[in-house]
């Protein structure tokens, strides 16, 4: 048993790292074709993403919203649901957070911040719970409905921001009234990284414990593995679906709150900044494991952080970072099919008796 476990773990570590190396080589080829020295590019990426404390902070700033956003896909995935409504939940969470923040205007900053966080969590949660409800009660495909809800969320954002919630002084970039400097979330001590990073890491840790170490998580995994068996075993599949969708949406909603409270100070079109789709990628590459999502977010954050240096130091086009990102994800997803294909990672105990 122990031996099997050890080899499985090694496989789970080696395959993603191998995939990453292959992606790097492929990307090097792309850079060479585009006329840049691949080794120079590698060293620049490292320098811009992880090389110094200052550049690593750049990476962490970009990774923070991805962690929370990825849980919106990763948690429901444990129940067998493919949800890509992260962008919508972020937008709705941010809008709700602003609404609560403006409503509580004048209260102590801590009260405003807690209110905003709850506003974001509840609104984002309900948004994705709606997807779960449509799935469970009306058998609507959750992938399609969550995707379409993204567009509805963005339309609601545009409508409210240029209508009833508009600050009349925001002429050419319609925005809500600002929540005020005093109510803004600060940065982690000694850094320029906002508290969203801490929220993301804590949320991913909690999500891991919830899924792997609680009866609720166990029930969810059973239902995800075999819905019928779960029903026969008497598990409340409907409640599980709603609860896990709510939790996933709540995390994305919190990401929206962080964008408002730590970055923009108000809600406007910038709330819709593709962190949702980034989160979907992170969740898939992390194989819906919340702890792996933290690492993958940092990796993707690093790729995004290096985009500038690729343009400025190597004269590569602005889409280069996207090519790199695409290659990494393509190769990592492909590598999924390699699990169990390598002899050295196969459990020996099963073979040993037949030989003997």
């Amino acid at each position: 048993m122990m031996v099997k476990h050890w080899r499985k773990t090694l496989e789970a570590i080696c395959i993603p790292i191998g995939a990453l190396l292959v992606a790097l080589v492929l990307f090097g080829g792309f850079c060479a074709i585009a006329g840049a020295n691949p080794f120079g590019v590698y060293s620049s990426i490292y320098r811009a993403a992880f090389g110094t404390w200052s550049s690593f902070q750049n990476t962490l700033i970009r990774a923070a919203p991805l962690m929370l956003s990825s849980l919106c896909t990763a948690l429901p995935a444990r129940l067998g649901l493919v949800i890509i409504g992260n962008e919508g939940a972020i937008v709705i969470g941010g809008l709700s957070a602003v609404a609560v923040g403006l409503f509580l205007d004048g209260s102590a900053p801590t009260i405003v911040q807690i209110g905003m966080a709850l506003g974001g969590i509840v609104a984002g949660g309900l948004w994705i719970a709606l997807v779960g409800a449509l799935r469970h009660y009306r058998a609507v495909n959750e992938t399609i409905s969550s995707l379409l809800l993204n567009y509805i969320a963005i339309a609601i954002l545009n409508q409210l921001v240029s209508g009833v919630m508009r600050d009349p002084s925001s002429l050419n970039k319609p925005s809500t009234y600002p929540i005020g400097m005093a109510s803004m979330l600060g940065t982690l001590p000694g850094t320029r990284v906002h508290y969203g990073l801490l929220f993301g890491i804590v949320a991913c840790g909690l999500a891991y414990l919830l899924i792997q170490r609680t009866t609720f998580g166990f029930a969810a995994r059973i239902a995800g593995g075999n819905l019928r068996a779960a029903r026969i075993a008497g598990l409340p599949v409907g409640k599980l679906t709603m609860a896990i969708c709510f939790l996933g949406g709540a995390c994305a909603g919190l990401a929206g709150m962080v964008e408002v409270a730590a970055v923009h100070g108000r809600a406007n079109e910038s709330l819709n900044a593709n962190y949702g789709y980034g989160g979907v990628l992170v969740a898939f590459v992390a194989r819906h494991n919340p702890l792996a999502a933290v690492l993958v977010s940092v990796l993707l954050g690093g790729i995004l952080a290096s985009s500038g240096i690729l343009q400025r130091s190597h004269n590569l086009p602005d889409a280069t970072a996207l090519v790199f990102q695409g290659l990494v994800f393509l190769v990592v997803l492909y590598s999924e099919s390699l699990y169990g294909k390598f002899e050295m990672f196969k459990e020996r105990s099963a073979i040993a008796p037949s030989v003997a």
């Binding site: 080589v25 120079g40 750049n58 209508g163 970055v263 910038s270 952080a305 400025r312």
Partner: protein
């Protein structure tokens, strides 16, 4: 299946990549990574490093390309080194880009060219680096409110739209013009109104149909809108979106005329391109570059914090007239241009009614380009088919 395909593609690429990588690695060994478009330093030792940040791609045939052309113009000036980054979102990503340009590239002047970069991003970084100068495209600077190392500039490009409107008013056969617009905000409304006023000044029966897409960059909707306009008999389209590319291409495909915006799109529609309202950032950036090279700064107020202007201060210009523009249209357009250049007439001269019949500018009243009321425009002029609320 897709996995297999991806694999085979990858393998070929691995080989090609490896070969190319090793070849280049040998060829460029030790060359490092110093291929920034640096120019010969002028009389002084260190070149002035200027960072440009764009919200879209540099070749979008639109907003970002217009700025990138301006950057390319000053990159030729001795003593100036330009570093650029495109596709930077209006989030804390732009703050990181500015910090990185300052810390890694040694930039001392930054041009964040998208409107939405200003508050809170430019303001936050400007406070952090009081010795670096920030010139933001948007005209949002407020004395006493914003840090004194921040400057802001913007142009009254609606003057060029007015002239493009005159050309469109001459070209149309159906008397129906189309305007594909992103959002019903003052800047956009002003362009729609000026374009329509220009067209109706030579052809009072003209109507402009406006459709708001809701987003700055929404190519699919923009193409659909252009098509539906063509279906309804519109025979000249213009726009105010980030990248007019698909609108011009669609118009050309449908055999109708088009009038450009932001940059020159003549190459996209060789038959139907009439003219266009273009930014002339090379002239503005050259002006800034010369002031900076003369050691003028925002901090000691030797460079003005707010710079605004229209055709006469070379903030904007018109694309060269296309083949379809008649001599009469050219004559009218040039005459109007001369009047605007001499600043003797205003576009917004009463009486002007909006499209609900309400008088917005009284008879005898004249609003010059700098008039603050025009900055807050929230109405569409008589002759426009459409509503501000979208």
């Amino acid at each position: 299946m897709t996995h297999r395909q991806a694999f085979y593609l990858s393998r070929r690429q691995v080989m090609r990549g490896l070969l190319a990588a090793s070849a280049l690695g040998v060829a460029k060994f030790g060359a490092g990574c110093t291929s920034v478009n640096s120019n010969a330093t002028g009389g002084k030792g260190e070149p002035l490093t200027v960072g440009f940040i764009y919200v879209g791609p540099k070749d979008d045939y639109g907003y970002s390309q217009a700025h990138a052309l301006g950057a390319a113009a000053i990159a030729k000036i001795p003593g100036i080194r330009v570093v650029e980054e495109a596709n930077v979102a209006e989030t804390n990503a732009v703050q990181e880009t500015m910090r990185s340009m300052i810390n890694l590239d040694g930039a001392t002047v930054i041009f964040p060219t998208s409107f939405g970069y200003f508050d809170p991003h430019v303001l936050a970084v400007a406070k952090e680096f009081p010795k670096v100068q920030f010139f933001h495209a948007g005209g949002l600077y407020q004395e006493g409110v914003h840090p004194n190392n921040v400057g802001s500039y913007f142009g009254y490009i609606d003057e060029a739209q007015y002239i493009a409107g005159i050309v469109a008013g001459h070209a149309t056969q159906s008397n129906k013009l189309g305007f594909v617009a992103a959002k019903p905000i003052p800047q956009v409304l002003r362009n729609i109104n000026s374009f329509t006023l220009g067209a109706r000044s030579v052809n009072p029966t003209v109507k402009t149909q406006v459709i708001f897409t809701g987003e700055w960059s929404e190519p699919v909707k923009e193409a659909e809108t252009t098509n539906s306009m063509a279906d309804q008999g519109v025979d000249v389209v213009t726009c105010h979106v980030d990248s007019p590319k698909v609108i011009m291409e669609t118009a050309e495909k449908r055999g109708i005329y088009c009038s450009g915006y932001h940059a020159d799109q003549a190459s996209l529609a060789p038959k139907g391109y009439l003219t266009g309202a273009e930014w002339d950032w090379s002239s503005i950036y050259t002006q800034y570059a010369q002031e900076l090279l003369a050691d003028k700064t925002l901090m000691d107020d030797s460079i003005p914090h707010l710079l605004r202007g229209g055709l006469s201060s070379q903030f904007c210009k018109l694309s060269p007239y296309g083949a379809a523009v008649t001599a009469k249209a050219k004559a009218d357009a040039e005459a109007a241009k001369q009047r605007l250049l001499s600043n003797e007439v205003a576009i917004y001269k009463g009486e002007i009614k909006d499209n609900t019949g309400k008088v917005q500018i009284q008879a005898q009243q004249e609003m010059k380009q700098q008039a603050i009321e025009l900055e807050k425009m929230n109405w569409l002029v008589e002759g426009v088919d459409g509503k501000v609320t979208g």
